[in-house]
């Protein structure tokens, strides 16, 4: 005696958020049933294991049928197959596109290609996110990437409109797409201490300040690429380190401002030239795609590490960078104030974010 067929279909599609999460997390039906039993749901309605199994199967089937629609969330709203209340639709989409920070950290900046997809088993083992869930997340990244790659206009807005995601999630996806597109290196050992959210923040800064769309969002080009003209202009900043007078003047201005305000003044004074060279060199090299990829590693190597080895506190670092940036405005011979602000604004906030253990 066995149940050959068992289905339950509601006019309004019945979905249990808990089961949905288990499905998203890649649990098999049997594992999901175990988890649910442990969760104590059985007590609620005098349910038995069979009831739970049958319910879980039904829901898994529903989710599988919905999955096709979730791939283009706009369809979910005007499809006819499932009658799902709007707030539920939002929940379905939001959860489907949610990802594990540990997982995304592994693929951040990688090319969203078949090659990467093959490595998912390793990532799955490493992050202990199930392979199924890894695949879903990876495919989500790829899908979003593919869609917005072709679109004009602001990246975050495009993602939000096409995938009906919350602002927060849309920003995260923008970061992922941006990283994937520019192939920023994030996997190096020295960058391991940074979380996805750190990078997402930085990506947000870069997107809103350094891309073409940042200056004029009506332009043809899109948000995913850095503003080439701007990158060219960054070369002009080299004068700050190549012109000896300017460098000294800059240093003295900064030191004057800092004196007495920090415990690590001596160290700051001592490493000023090195740090300044580091930051300006990063700027000057950004025309090379290769160097763009290394942007974050460079920031860490050229600035964050030296500061940290000198035991600057975060506040020290903030103080230093603020004065470093502002002092440049006072330099009479320095004509590239606009580019400087655009550059330093982003670098400053990136470093603020990245300056932690």
């Amino acid at each position: 005696m066995s149940v050959e067929l068992d289905v339950f279909v509601g006019n309004t599609t019945i979905m249990d958020e808990e089961v949905y999460q288990l499905w998203l997390d890649g649990y098999t039906v049997n594992d999901a049933v175990k988890v649910r039993m442990e969760g104590g749901v059985m007590d609620e309605c005098e349910a038995s294991k069979d009831v739970l199994l049958s319910d879980t199967m039904d829901q898994y089937r529903t989710f599988q049928m919905c999955e096709r629609l979730l791939h283009s969330p706009a369809k979910l709203a005007n499809q006819l197959l499932f009658q799902i209340p709007p707030h539920r639709q939002i929940m379905l989409i939001e959860r489907y596109y949610a990802f594990d920070d540990t997982f995304v950290r592994e693929v951040l900046g990688k090319k969203l290609s078949k090659g990467t997809k093959k490595d998912l088993d390793d990532i799955s083992t490493k992050t202990s996110v199930t392979l199924k869930s890894c695949r879903r997340q990876f495919d989500n990244f790829k899908r979003v990437f593919k869609v917005v790659e072709e679109l004009k206009g602001p990246l975050v807005e495009n993602i939000r409109q096409h995938f009906l995601l919350s602002d927060k999630l849309a920003r995260d996806y923008a970061a992922i797409v941006f990283f994937a597109n520019n192939r920023f290196e994030t996997g190096k050992r020295k960058l391991q201490y940074l979380s996805f959210q750190d990078f997402a923040f930085c990506a947000g800064q870069l997107i809103s300040n350094w891309t073409v769309g940042a200056v004029d969002n009506m332009v043809e080009d899109m948000d995913v690429d850095l503003d080439k003209e701007f990158l060219q202009e960054l070369k002009e900043l080299k004068i700050l380190i190549t012109d000896k007078d300017l460098l000294d003047q800059h240093k003295s201005l900064v030191c004057t401002a800092l004196r007495g305000k920090t415990k690590v003044f001596i160290e700051m004074e001592g490493s000023f030239k090195n740090l300044s060279r580091g930051l300006i060199n990063i700027a000057a090299k950004l025309t090379n795609t290769k160097d763009v990829r290394d942007f974050f590693i460079d920031l860490v190597e050229k600035f964050i590490e030296p500061c940290r080895s000198d035991r600057w506190s975060a506040a020290d670092m903030k103080l230093y960078l603020t004065h470093y940036t502002n002092s440049a405005h006072i330099l009479d011979t320095f004509k590239h104030q606009v580019v400087w602000d655009r550059y330093m604004g982003v670098v400053k906030s990136c470093i603020f974010k990245m300056y932690h253990d």
Binding site: M1, S2, V3, E4, L5, D6, V7, F8, V9, G10, N11, T12, T13, I14, E44, C45, E46, A47, S48, D50, V51, L52, S54, D55, M57, D58, R61, T62, Q64, M65, A74, K75, A77, N78, Q79, L80, L81, F82, Q83, P85, P86
Partner: protein
């Protein structure tokens, strides 16, 4: 040329990729009606094509408009090879044919393919211009409204109820034609879908014609069914209740007064009515008159004069043929007809006779309605049912095209005669069904025998709403329907009668079974609950006649056991009445399945049910400890159930007033004499508390099993109630949460040598587990009630049991669930009590003297005091219709459970008889010429699908099997939804196995229903039902096929708090919305 149909194809969306190379589709659309086809341009390389076609115009007969669906086919253009079909949409344009309903069909319809399911959507606008046709001989019946709802639709008033209409049409099943061997499954499925929709269109039109003939304008309680008879053909049949409905102005209260017009000649009515009007108070019609004469007197005239009831009495008792019985029965009222003359005078008799006559002139005084306006239903006799086993003849017999008609006619005659045996002139809550396995077919019909208010029986009495209450006086509304309609001296079966606990004036049975909904005015205590009896019976595999005989031999035993179970479970829940009783018997190759569902309730007018007493066959047979432990469990269960269902009937001062219940002593004697049971009965203590006890005898393991299975039924978890009727007794304060669902479960029995017991257990568990699953899934809706739980069982293959359930879960407000408490029964003087006491004795003497067979010992030891079972008033009858070449009329065995002994002997006789019988039942696979002539051109209908509104949002369409949606008011009925779909797959595994396949199919069916309703401008489907869900699989070939038939009423409903304005905006919004939509 009375109609012009116009269709416009606006756009498509979400189309499938048809060209792998480009990942796009070059779609175009063919629009076909009748034999005319139009095409749109090809919209190249788009998955969201915009056609914006011209208006395609079809000039057609209205007859065609009724039969044919508009057929829309979406294709992918292919320059080099044949165009590929993407899918189809069938749009039933019937709703556009009557003025009050929808004016336009406009919206997004899912494009459906029988192999691939839904593949994108298409936006279509359809309009109809009808010209007036004054042709008296027309074949169309445009304008007749159809409702699935089994009560008077909310925004209508029934000015006349004309009565029963039925029709059936027969054709060959395309699936079994030779051509099916060479065509693709898709072509075959589409041929079938088309044919069925065509047939149901034709059927509806023909019924409509009958309604027009009767002078009605609507069919309420329209029930259409398919019989897939396999090689012998395909039958589409329908029954309904013809009415004349008046639309209420939307402002006025939904007032549903009904006048019954049983097709008498208007002239006779006209001359009768004045006299009635003049003496209204007198003609208040009530059977055993309330202030009835002392019983002894009463008995006298009846016995001295020929009891009017007697001719029909043998029919219930014995197996006399219903046909002869009918001809013998005089038109006079039962029982009371005689006695009434005494005090109410001739007028009363006359009136009664009028009623009777009026109804009798109708061939079948049947009503498919299950709930009625207050005052309509006077008395309810009990359930009447008839079954008949037929052999589907493979021989095509064009000379006898009416075979199926004849079969149903027979059954209906039986039902009618049973109703008569119960002293009733009408049958309400009437329904018909079939179960087919190979060439054997069980036809079943059941209903509730009732007496209807004669005031509703005449014409011209259109405004009784205001005078209504005057008539209800003698028979109080909250108990009147319980009063027995039959003569207690000539009861069709032995029953325990008591005086009504409400009015104390008239007799009531101790248990009442009905197929109708609980009348809204009925006084109940506590809440109701779903009660199911489940039964499996193994049967040897056999062919043809032997098989049919075997089945008909099993049927009575199944019905008996189902009844025993129902009765036991009813007592166990401490209730005394069943509503919405539906007994389904399903036949398979090697077994029969029986499932009886009903909603149990405690009617305060009826006596409190006694407990259940356990007894060993002989003392010491089983250890008394064992018995007492079972007894304790039962008593505990009863106590728990009383608590659970809040059954606290108003206490009656029984002793003080003089209990109408005879002393236990009397009673036991009564029953013994009645059933001629053995003496051991007197050994038992029949009393359980004060009440009469119901005795279960444990004499073998079977009985123990039975008792265990009784106790197995788990009560619903806290916060849940369940019922299978329209209204949940005891709950009326619904909140807005509504969740309709369909669930299908198929069980494979792996064990080859199962016993009946084992099977019963499996089947019971299957049903119980389904319920448990529902409770679990719907737990978020607590407090909630599962209403209209409709279980359907089938045996699709050997070793497979399929259960399909459709129901709706509705939330309610827990705070206010207290029902109106029952009225305090009227105190009667002790004198009357004395009188009453004499009754049973009288009765007893009478019945023992009647010709009961004393074959008591046959009556198996299972339940010796079978007499106790009798009160359920179920008359079973079977036609021994294995078929017969002679012209012999079918033997009808009509049996009551009153005395098992009696019944057994009857059946034995019957079986003997049958052994020599009978070969009839030929077949009509309708020959094309006569019946099908209108069919020939080929058309179809009903297959359609849809949903409206483009843009981003989709109209929410609620669905419910009930006739109402809580918290809303229906302001417009848009037409009937009747759709038939076939889905097939050759890649079962890839679609997620059988469950995945069926899951998506059911979801697709829902989607198509919703789309169609939305396109009509509606936002809900009421009285939704899934009539058919036939599932076949062949896992080895990776194939499966499923057929689903659904129906319901498309409506616009508005929140009760909303004003009219919202309705009109809904309507215009719909039209406007879809227009603008087209432009997007």
């Amino acid at each position: 040329m009375p109609g012009k149909l116009k269709a416009k194809i606006v756009a498509g969306r979400h189309l499938p990729v048809m060209d792998r190379a480009s990942d796009l589709t070059d779609a175009f659309v063919e629009v076909k009606f009748g034999n005319t086809t139009f095409k749109t341009d090809v919209c190249p390389k788009s998955l969201n094509p915009q056609w914006n076609s011209e208006w395609f115009k079809f000039e057609v007969d209205d007859e065609d408009l009724q039969d044919e669906p508009l057929q829309i086919t979406v294709l992918d253009h292919d320059t080099y090879s044949a165009n590929d079909a993407i899918g189809k949409v069938y749009i039933d344009i019937d709703p556009l044919l009557y003025s009050e309903a929808a004016s336009v069909i406009s919206g997004w319809f899912p494009i459906y393919d029988t192999i691939h399911g839904i593949r994108g959507e298409i936006n279509v606008i359809v309009k109809v211009e009808l010209f007036n046709d004054l042709n008296r001989f027309r074949q169309s019946s445009c304008g007749v409204k159809f409702f699935c709802t089994t009560c008077i639709p909310q925004c209508y008033r029934a000015t006349l109820v004309h009565g029963f209409v039925e029709e059936l049409v027969v054709n060959e099943d395309p699936e079994y034609q030779w051509i099916d061997r060479i065509r693709t499954p898709r072509a075959s499925n589409e041929a079938r879908q088309r044919l069925i929709s065509l047939m149901s269109g034709e059927l509806q039109r023909k019924i409509g014609l009958k309604v027009l003939e009767m002078g009605g304008n609507a069919v309420v309680g329209y029930l259409q069914c398919f019989d897939l008879e396999g090689e012998s053909g395909l039958v589409v049949r329908a029954i309904g209740t013809a009415c004349t409905l008046d639309k209420l102005s939307s402002g006025s209260a939904p007032n549903t007064n009904t006048h019954m017009h049983p097709n008498t000649a208007p002239a006779s009515n006209a001359c009768n009515s004045p006299s009635k009007d003049g003496k209204e108070p007198v003609f208040v019609e009530d059977l055993p008159s309330s202030s009835g004469p002392p019983t002894p007197f009463r008995a006298l005239p009846t016995s001295s004069s020929p009891p009017p009831f007697s001719p029909s009495k043998p029919c219930s008792r014995q197996s006399s043929s219903s046909d002869t019985d009918l001809s013998l029965t005089p038109k006079t009222g039962m029982g009371s007809g005689g006695s009434a003359g005494k005090e109410a005078g001739p007028l009363r008799t006359l009136l009664r006779q009028q009623t009777q006559t009026a109804l009798e002139q109708r061939e079948f005084p049947f009503f498919t309605l299950t709930s009625f306006p207050p005052g309509f239903l006077l008395h309810v006799g009990g359930v009447v049912s008839a079954r008949s086993v037929k052999l589907l003849d493979r021989i095509h017999n064009p000379d006898e095209p009416e075979t199926r008609d004849a079969w149903w006619e027979e059954i209906r005659q039986e039902i009618k005669s049973h109703a008569r045996a119960l002293g009733c002139h009408a049958v309400v809550g009437y329904s018909e069904s079939t179960s087919i396995c190979e060439e054997v077919c069980i036809l079943s019909a059941s209903g509730t025998a009732a007496i209807l208010n004669p005031r509703y029986m005449r014409e011209g009495c259109l405004d009784i709403g205001c005078t209504d209450h005057r008539f209800e006086e003698p028979s109080p509304p909250n108990c009147g329907f319980c009063h027995i309609p039959y003569d207690e001296l000539n009861m069709p079966f032995p029953a325990q009668l008591t005086y009504c606990y409400h009015c104390r004036r008239q007799k009531v049975p101790d248990v009442l079974f009905t197929t109708i909904d609980l009348p809204s005015e009925a006084a109940v205590a506590g809440k109701g609950c779903l009660i199911q009896a489940r039964l499996c019976r193994l049967k040897k595999k056999a062919q043809g006649e032997a098989n049919a005989t075997a089945i008909s031999n099993l049927l009575p035993f199944m019905e008996y056991e189902l009844h025993t179970q129902l009765m036991n479970k009813l007592k166990l829940r401490s209730m005394n009445a069943l509503f919405g009783l539906h007994i389904q018997i399903s036949v398979g190759e090697n077994m029969l399945l029986g499932l009886a569902s009903a909603t149990g309730v405690y009617l305060t007018a009826l006596p409190a049910p006694g407990g259940i007493q356990i007894a060993g066959k002989t003392p010491g047979d089983l250890s008394s400890e064992h018995i007492s432990s079972i007894q304790k469990r039962i008593n505990d269960t009863i106590a728990v159930n009383k608590e659970l269902y809040q059954i606290n009937p108003p206490e009656l001062a029984e002793e003080g007033v003089g209990s109408p219940i005879p002393e236990p002593r009397h009673r036991s004697r009564l029953f013994r004499s009645h059933s001629e049971s053995s003496d051991e009965l007197s050994e038992l203590d029949l009393s359980h508390g004060k009440k009469d006890a119901f005795v279960l005898e444990i004499d073998d393991t079977d009985a123990v099993e039975d008792i265990h299975s009784l106790l197995i039924d788990a009560p619903p978890p806290t916060g849940f109630y369940s019922c299978n009727t329209e209204n949940m007794p005891g709950i009326s304060n619904w909140t807005s949460g509504v969740q309709m669902f369909t669930s299908v479960r198929v069980l494979r029995l792996s064990n080859a040598n199962l016993t009946n017991q084992g099977l019963n257990k499996i089947f019971t568990d299957l049903c119980e587990n389904l319920l448990k699953s529902f409770y679990f899934k719907l737990r978020s809706m607590i407090p909630c009630c599962l209403c209209h739980l409709n279980f359907t069982v089938a045996v699709p293959e050997e070793e497979l049991i399929q259960v399909t359930v459709t129901a709706v879960a509705m939330t309610y407000d827990k705070e206010q669930t207290q029902e109106k408490t029952a009225e305090k029964p009227v105190n009667k003087g002790s004198l009357e009590a004395e009188e009453q006491l004499q009754f049973p004795l009288e009765l007893c003497a009478d019945s023992s003297s009647s010709n009961i067979q004393t074959a008591s010992k046959i009556s198996v030891s299972l339940f010796t005091p079978a007499a106790k079972l009798c009160q359920n008033q179920l008359l079973i009858a079977r036609s021994a219709g294995v078929g017969e070449s002679t012209n012999m009329s079918p033997r009808a065995a009509s049996v009551d459970y009153g005395s098992f002994a009696d019944r057994c002997s009857t059946w034995l006789e019957l079986l003997r008889l049958k052994a020599h019988t009978i070969r009839r039942g030929s077949v009509k696979t309708i020959s094309s010429l006569e019946r099908c002539s209108p069919l020939q051109e080929g058309r179809s209908r009903s297959l359609r699908s849809s949903r409206s509104f483009g843009g981003s949002s989709v109209t929410v369409v609620k669905m419910t099997p009930l006739s109402f949606l809580p918290g809303t008011r229906i302001i417009k009925y848009l037409g009937i939804i009747n759709m038939f779909f076939i889905r097939e797959t050759t890649s079962l595994r890839e679609e997620g196995g059988v469950s995945g396949f069926l899951h998506s199919f059911i979801a697709e069916v829902f989607a198509m229903v919703r789309a169609h309703v939305a396109a009509l401008g509606g936002n809900a489907v009421v009285s939704y039902s899934m009539k058919e869900c036939v599932f076949m699989e062949n896992p080895n070939k990776n194939q499966a096929q499923c057929l689903i038939n659904v129906s319901g009423d498309a409506v616009i409903c508005i929140s009760e708090t909303d004003q009219e304005s919202s309705a009109s905006t809904a309507n215009t919004g719909q039209t406007g919305g879809s227009e603008t939509d087209g432009a997007t």
